[in-house]
Assembly symmetry: C2
Homo-oligomer: 333 residues x 2
């Protein structure tokens, strides 16, 4: 195992210490239990957004805390759900009086713990809504999931709902919008290499020098099939064909295309993938009107990528374009 | 070789096609010869900044084109200097009447070709200044370099000089500032794995499962020594000790600390490194007042990191904080 770490057990704690130091004044990293909040939370009168999940997917979610996106994020240990006390503490602290939306990726542990936290928060009189994101078309049910896994659409939902919350929309509307983003999004990924969990010290799965895993999960869960390594264009055809057919996306659709790196894939390759995706969709009559290319939802040191498409409308486009100011995603008005 | 590419010979061309499509309206990618310009270039009355170098270091330099940073970038083939005709075309096109600054990393091919381009531009009556960045303390002379290699300080110089140019400072002042950033910056890197050049198809160098290369160059050039893999804290001590001793940085200094990923290193590990660097500098009485953590100057799929320190003053800090709006670096006022 080759990693820039100290003791495997200390990785998350030390990472969060680094986040706290690097983003002091913008983010506050609470310990015992761990959660990350925007420095100006709670924002009075604004619906608060809380997400979270296992660590190892950075910048998701802690890197998406800030104006225009999340109010708080709860990091678990590597590939391990955060605990209900983390979510409860975050929910209490960032509630600005307009209620709290939990955005949850569909993994059994995450869903269970977020539900428990929501119940406890409601017992305390807080208004909490939850939306589970499940956009991965690769498989039904998986190693850690009943139903579809939640992947790239989570990033898009956090950005778009963050903008809606900043506009002062009520909780039910922001939650409804989050469901809309989930319903209109589909994703699929491919791994060229496994990831290595620090505490395990060896690759999560074995993949031959000429093999790739199509439909990989973000924790290295098995995908649809193992295939000989293919060209970027062929890989995009495989991923995009599955994604397009599932919703389905149709000629005339306008989409946000998100090419996501899995952690060890250079930006150079992601742009090659993006060019191939653009060609593929153009031939299908689907127009990319917004895009995101980079490593936003990673799987430790896995090499590979995922493709997410979101069918846009004017409102989603406007909310996507709204200002956001987080360490991981940032643009102006 | 496991990469998301098509034919190795087409990587740069296809990557640039992806950049053009993903950032349409903000960047213009010119072909034959290749160069990337901000969409609103030339900006009348503003000193124009042009940089460039081999591809494989993305987001540097193309990702740093935009308001507040570069006016144009010239990408060469992978790890290969761009040609003088690229730099000449870019220089001509982005000159807004106030002259052009070339920011050049110290590699023999880059320096020679930028000098040739500057001579040709001056023959056409353009005002051109050049600053060569040489901040890598690891080695004197190297595989592709006479003197020290130019690494992380290039990113900082492009940002800080970009801000000065936006303020309307004259060419001599912007060039002087660029020399100041170079003089006040020092860097050193470490590789945990080699990179693989697409056209070569195999790792540039061999590194054992328990080894790391200390003082690595961004093309995989040999560093100071090969050592057994160490902890993040020990690696930071090695890098930061060399960097601090070289300028030297002293107790009481305020610095910008830049922890850079080499392409295949997850953000999680870079924050662990940043936390260790913060501890190290604190013990030396050196205060980090600005920071940058991420993969900004990469070496294809190399795993590893580099540490750059820049001794700040009020002016450099103010220029660092000024708005920047590029695909690779972006923040508001």
């Amino acid at each position: 195992m080759k990693k820039l770490i100290n003791r495997p057990d200390d990785v998350v704690r030390e990472e969060l210490a680094g986040v706290a130091l690097a983003h002091a004044g913008r983010l506050v990293v609470h310990t015992d239990p761990h959660w990350i909040a925007r420095a100006d939370a709670p924002v009075a009168g604004k619906v608060a957004l809380v997400s979270g999940g296992g660590s190892g997917h950075e910048p998701m979610h802690g890197g998406f805390v800030g104006p225009g996106m999340l109010d708080a994020a709860c990091p678990g240990e590597v590939f391990t759900s955060p605990t209900p006390d983390q979510m409860l503490a975050a929910t209490r602290a960032v509630d600005g009086g307009a209620g709290v939306l939990h955005i949850v990726k569909n993994y059994t542990g995450d869903v269970m713990n977020f539900e428990m936290a929501a119940d406890l928060a409601r017992d305390e009189g807080l208004q909490v809504e939850q939306v589970v994101i499940a956009d991965d078309v690769a498989v039904e049910d998986s190693l850690y999931t009943a139903g579809r896994r939640g992947v790239g659409a989570t990033v898009l939902a956090e950005k778009i709902c963050g903008a809606a919350a900043e506009e002062g929309r009520p909780l039910a509307a922001v939650a409804g919008l989050c469901r809309t983003v989930d319903e209109r999004s589909r994703s699929m990924g491919v791994a060229l290499t496994s990831c290595t969990v620090p505490a395990a010290g060896r690759p999560t799965f074995e993949l031959g020098e000429d093999e790739m895993e199509v439909g990989i999960g973000i924790h290295g869960e098995p995908g649809r099939e193992r295939r000989p390594l293919a060209s970027a264009t062929e890989i995009v055809e495989t991923l995009a064909t599955a994604v397009v057919a599932d919703l389905p996306f149709r000629a005339g659709d306008e989409v946000l295309a998100f090419v996501n790196g899995m952690g060890a894939t250079p930006l150079m390759e992601l742009y090659v993938v993006y060019a191939a995706l653009h060609r593929f969709l153009e031939e299908s009559g689907i127009a990319i009107t917004r895009s995101l290319v980079g490593s936003y939802m990673t799987s430790l040191d896995m090499a590979g990528c995922s493709v997410t498409l979101l069918r846009l409308d004017d409102e989603l486009t406007r909310l996507w374009d709204a200002p956001v100011d987080t360490p991981g995603l940032r643009w102006g008005a």
